[in-house]
Symmetry: C2
């Protein structure tokens, strides 16, 4: 039996499971499968174990070579118990799931660490990606919702467990309704789900757009990040308007965070952030500028480096990889 030498990292999402194996800090294997939609948590956990075996094989490692596994997941997390609750987007995870113990069991007792998906994504970029040169960094993940993770004085900062939730910073008093039930939150303007709802409203009211045509061409049931990016590239005005509104809301919320935290860098990631890339990040920077207390010393504005591997790599880092 070889010495243990790899660490697994899993990014668990509602539509896909992305897994990597790290060895000496490098990605030596990866695997990605659609998240099982049967509604049974067991099926999701089996699929996770399957990706780990596939990634190990790619890395020419054996299961006994695996030291530990980290999982980044949405929902409420009890890290000590390895329990996830209220991860409504993951089939079978709406209620309480003993993800850590169950996955550990199916992996012959290997230790499993559970943490927030966005926070591990930011950790991945901080330790192994675009965040390496900085000690104070805010990673904002713009996807279906808007989340974030803070690195302060070189450490991931958790607060009482919910730090980084910039998605629910208020950008417009009494503004657009958010999925959380409050009004005017950043996520109501910059989260893909609410952007899609807004596009449907505008479309119903007679506004022209190719967004839904692009969606059908891509066989998608929703306005994914890729649909928004493609329609924007093709010059669609509604896509441009919705993305402008998102950038403006992000710029406003991030300027306030910057004024309080005096960060070295802000990184924009997540599905929409990664798809729209540097032009979107530059747009956000332009919207921040007029609100900055030290406009001559703006933070560096970054895209991610590991892109859709940030979460899986960060989960492995969290587990000691």
């Amino acid at each position: 039996m070889a010495d243990a030498e790899g660490t697994g990292g899993v990014d668990l999402g509602g539509t896909k499971i992305q897994t990597v194996v790290l060895r000496d800090g490098e990605v030596v294997g990866s695997a990605r499968v659609p998240t099982p939609q049967t509604g049974a948590a067991d099926d999701v956990i089996d699929a996770i174990a399957g990706t780990i075996h596939a990634a190990l094989e790619q890395a020419a490692l054996e299961p006994p070579d695996l030291r530990a596994v980290g999982v980044g997941t949405p929902g409420e997390i009890d890290s000590a118990a390895g329990v996830v609750s209220l991860a409504a987007n993951v089939p079978g995870f709406a209620d309480r799931v003993e993800l850590g113990p169950m996955l550990s069991k199916s992996l012959n007792g290997i230790p499993v660490t559970i943490d927030n998906d966005v926070r591990v994504g930011v950790l991945g970029e901080f330790k192994r990606g675009a965040g390496r040169p900085y000690r104070n960094l805010f990673g904002v993940w713009v996807g279906s919702g808007v989340g974030g993770g803070l690195v302060l004085d070189g450490e991931l900062y958790d607060g009482r467990g919910a730090a980084g939730e910039i998605g629910h910073a208020v950008v417009v008093p009494d503004g657009r309704l958010c999925s959380c039930g409050r009004r005017g939150c950043l996520e109501a303007y910059a989260g893909r789900v609410r952007m899609e709802e807004r596009a449907r409203e505008l479309h119903r009211s007679g506004k022209k757009t190719i967004l839904f045509k692009v969606m059908k061409e891509r066989n998608s049931a929703r306005l994914s990040s890729g649909v928004f990016a493609s329609a924007l590239k093709k010059g669609d005005k509604m896509a441009a308007q919705l993305i402008d509104e998102a950038a403006s809301a992000l710029g406003f919320a991030l300027a306030s965070a910057q004024n309080v935290l005096d960060l070295e860098a802000i990184m924009v990631g997540g599905g929409l952030g990664d798809r729209l890339g540097q032009p979107f990040v530059d747009q956000i920077a332009d919207q921040m500028a007029p609100h900055l207390f030290t406009p001559d010393k703006p933070p560096r504005m970054l895209t991610t480096e590991l892109r859709d591997l940030s979460g899986a790599v960060g989960a492995a880092v969290r587990a000691g990889g």
Copy 2:
């Protein structure tokens, strides 16, 4: 000659100099004088040295018993060089002053540490006052302006040197003009100087108030924190309205900070904060509540414990006391 055993702390302001001497973490002497208004920095430094000697005497200590002195000051600070610039409110300090070296010289070479006035105030409360039970804390100092200091994971957090500047978080897009030249900043609503300007505007436009009558009765040339507190107590509607607006702006800005930082506690200090006390803090908490991401887990809302000694005590702590 006795062993060195006291540490001095100085809170330098535009109208007063407050000094303490700490021994084993306790205030054993204090002295307070008006800030010399001659316009010469030398006179201010002589006055500081005078308060230190007075505080030592009160503590039955001799100058050789003094280990070090810390000074909290407004303006831009180069801590390494002990230099203060642009402290426009302190007579003689509008340009560059070598405060550290000059004060050290007049105290027989004792080491002098210089830091931001608000940040040392928060440090004082964190180490010796109402902040002791917490590891993650935001101290918001509401005075002529609005400043703040962050304690994160048990350490004062500086960012790149300007962290905590919540006074310039935007609370109303394109709102009231701020002293910094931008619009809609928190300080434009909750800073005493801008509140006074707003009261004068309203008064000129015919709105009734006893604010200026109270000001004259107190022989004050400005609407000090005490004037606002007194008029509010006497049922003045304009004072109540201005304080409502301040609490609302503070609640809004602090809710966004809370959503990002997930703090254990928020403390309201500074001249106006200390004068208005717990009712004002409760009002701010009420204004925060609807915007909190975790409304069932609001931060503890605190007043200061050391009150107008926070800054001097914190400056001594910063110097090792």
